[in-house]
């Protein structure tokens, strides 16, 4: 469904140019869920931005269902590939009601029957209709993230890019949102690319994952391999150790991968 080959992404110009992603490749099949794990600054979110056209300065090849993507994305692409952002407080326009927020993509892509679609979208993410005319500040973090998910799905996309969708949420809410995402993927046969710094979240959600560091993929592995504690790269092993909580003894063995 989505194929990424030798992707390089840059930010800025001239002396301030920043080579954020340095030649990564991966592919996801239809209905699959691919995870990208890494620490902040590893370039994992940048990959998503390049895919959905928010980081125009890239080279390499990107294919969506066998069609090569160019620097400029059309409206149709935007309908088929949607993104859910990390911060449920920042990703919703503070002055728009939920209704307006959900109506906007429908309007851009010239859907009819906007009202019915909004109501259905709200139902699907488990929000009742009393939320329709509220403003984001009247919602809790989890509810906002549900709205963000609803917005991403309201145009019936095929691929959804998830950028740390739960890292700003409390754990109990995180569980709800993760369950919701999993259910929607099953029901609609969606393709996910999930980015997270939390190995447990990726391991829980994805079939296959890649570990990123300094703009490169250091290791790509199936979930079974991770499950069986057999990652080959030392950095992956360290992440795996760290995900198990505080243990004074193991920490001294940590390497700084700067």
């Amino acid at each position: 469904m989505l194929d990424v080959r030798q992707l390089h992404v840059y930010f800025g110009r001239g002396a301030a140019r920043n080579h954020a992603v340095r030649g990564i490749s991966f592919s996801v099949s239809r209905g699959g869920c691919f995870g990208l794990v890494g620490e902040s600054g590893s370039g994992k979110s940048t990959v998503l931005k390049a895919i959905c056209g928010l980081a125009p300065n890239w080279h390499g090849s990107l294919h969506l269902a066998q069609t090569a993507l160019t620097q400029k994305r059309g409206l149709d692409f935007c309908r088929r590939v949607q993104m859910v952002f990390q911060d449920p407080y920042g990703s919703l326009h503070p002055r728009h009601t939920i209704d307006q927020i959900l109506a906007e993509p429908l309007r851009i892509h010239r859907f009819d029957d906007i009202k019915t679609r909004i109501i259905r979208a709200l139902e699907e993410v488990g929000l009742d209709l009393t939320f329709r005319f509220r403003y984001p500040h009247q919602l809790s973090g989890g509810q906002r993230q549900r709205v963000a998910v609803a917005r991403a799905l309201v145009t019936n996309p095929e691929v959804v890019l998830l950028d740390e969708p739960t890292s700003a949420l409390d754990v109990s809410v995180q569980a709800e949102v993760l369950n919701l995402l999993a259910r929607l993927r099953r029901e609609r046969n969606l393709t996910y690319v999930l980015v997270s710094h939390d190995l447990s979240v990726v391991a829980h959600m994805c079939d296959r994952l890649a570990v990123m560091q300094h703009g490169r993929i250091v290791e790509s592995l199936d979930i079974d391999k991770l499950h069986n504690q057999r990652p080959s790269h030392p950095y992956t092993r360290q992440l795996l150790l760290a995900s198990r909580g505080y243990d004074r003894k193991t920490i001294d063995a940590f390497k700084d991968f700067d």
Binding site: K49, C52, G53, L54, R73, G74, L75, F77, C78, R79, Q82, M83, F85, Q86, D87, G90, S91, L92, H93, P94, R95, T97, D99, Q100, E104, P105, I108, H109, T130, F131, F133, R134, Y135, Q138, A148, R151, T155
Partner: protein, 304 residues
């Protein structure tokens, strides 16, 4: 008898789950009003501005004349029961002129707002959001206007366009937009990278659509707040142009021009220049107080 209706209104405004877009908007306005009205100083400002507006609207019913025709037999009368604020050097009632002058002040205020806000928003949001060379060029132009002696530019424009209140206001507006462009740009710059803008772009929204529907509404409040805070300055600049003989033409009862022509009477007939001076002061104060209050309501960063 109105209790149920009142309770209904209360419920309508306070319910956590609004049932329509209209109700949602009403609630937001109501909530802002609640915050605003908790600040007595701001309310005082609003009252002054409302008084200005109502004086302008009902001027024909609360004045005895249009304050334009000279009546040379009753020149320079001190304030009395017949002439509350006295009469001026051509025997016109100063109270009548002040009231009719409210229309002009209101006109100045509205016209400047109507010119400055769109220009500032347009240039600022485009520069801030689009960035790159567009930003550089637009900001360079803004800087030139910022570096230009303001009153000089206004004077030149008025001189070029011909004296008169419209031209004075246009001149003021054309010299005051640059700080607004800067404010709008600063806001647009911070908004540019925010996730909801990225989300809109990811949905395929066009640049124009994002500017219009997402960025501009968020810049408007800080621009409006700045405008109310500047309004005093604008009124004073208009008055200053009037003072230099470039604003309203006689016999228009523009307050600045009234001070200007009345200033030679300061020693013997103090009321002639002083009353319009006080009028300008009060209205400026009103806009300033209002602006302070609005800043607290609209700008969340200033909420204590």
């Amino acid at each position: 008898m109105t209790f149920p209706a009142l309770r209904g209104a209360r419920e309508y405004l306070l319910s956590g789950a609004p049932r329509s877009a209209l109700q949602a908007r009403c609630q937001r306005v109501w909530f802002s009003w609640r915050t605003f009205s908790a600040n007595p100083v701001a309310v005082a400002g609003l009252l002054i501005v409302l008084a200005l507006v109502s004086a302008a609207v009902i001027a024909p019913w609360i004045t005895g004349s249009d304050g334009l025709d000279p009546e040379l037999s009753r020149r320079l009368l001190p304030p009395s029961a017949a002439h509350w604020f006295g009469t001026d050097e051509l025997g016109r009632d100063i109270y009548d002129r002040i009231i009719w002058g409210a229309r002009i002040t209101l006109y100045i205020v509205t016209l400047v707002g109507a010119i400055v806000v769109p220009i500032g928003l347009l240039i600022g949001t485009i520069a801030g959001y689009v960035g790159g060379i567009v930003d550089t060029v637009l900001m360079r132009i803004t800087d030139i206007f910022l570096a230009f002696p303001r009153l000089i530019l206004a004077l030149a424009l008025v001189a070029a366009l011909g004296p008169g209140i419209e031209n004075a206001v246009i001149a003021i507006a054309l010299t005051t937009w640059s700080p607004y462009a800067r404010i709008a740009r600063a806001e647009a710059l911070t908004l540019r990278g925010s996730e909801f803008i990225l989300a809109a772009r990811a949905q395929g929204a066009s640049t124009g659509g994002i500017l219009l529907r997402h960025i501009t509404p968020l810049c408007v409040s800080s621009v409006i707040v700045r405008l109310t805070l500047d309004m005093a300055g604008i009124i004073l600049t208009a008055a200053g142009l009037g003072f230099l003989g470039l604003g309203a033409q006689p016999p228009t009862p523009e307050w600045g021009a009234m001070i200007s022509t009345g200033r030679q009477f300061l020693l013997d007939q103090w009321w002639v220049p002083t009353i319009p001076g006080i009028a300008i002061f009060i209205v400026s104060l009103g806009f300033n107080l209002l602006g302070d209050g609005l800043r607290d309501v609209m700008d969340p960063r200033h909420n204590a």
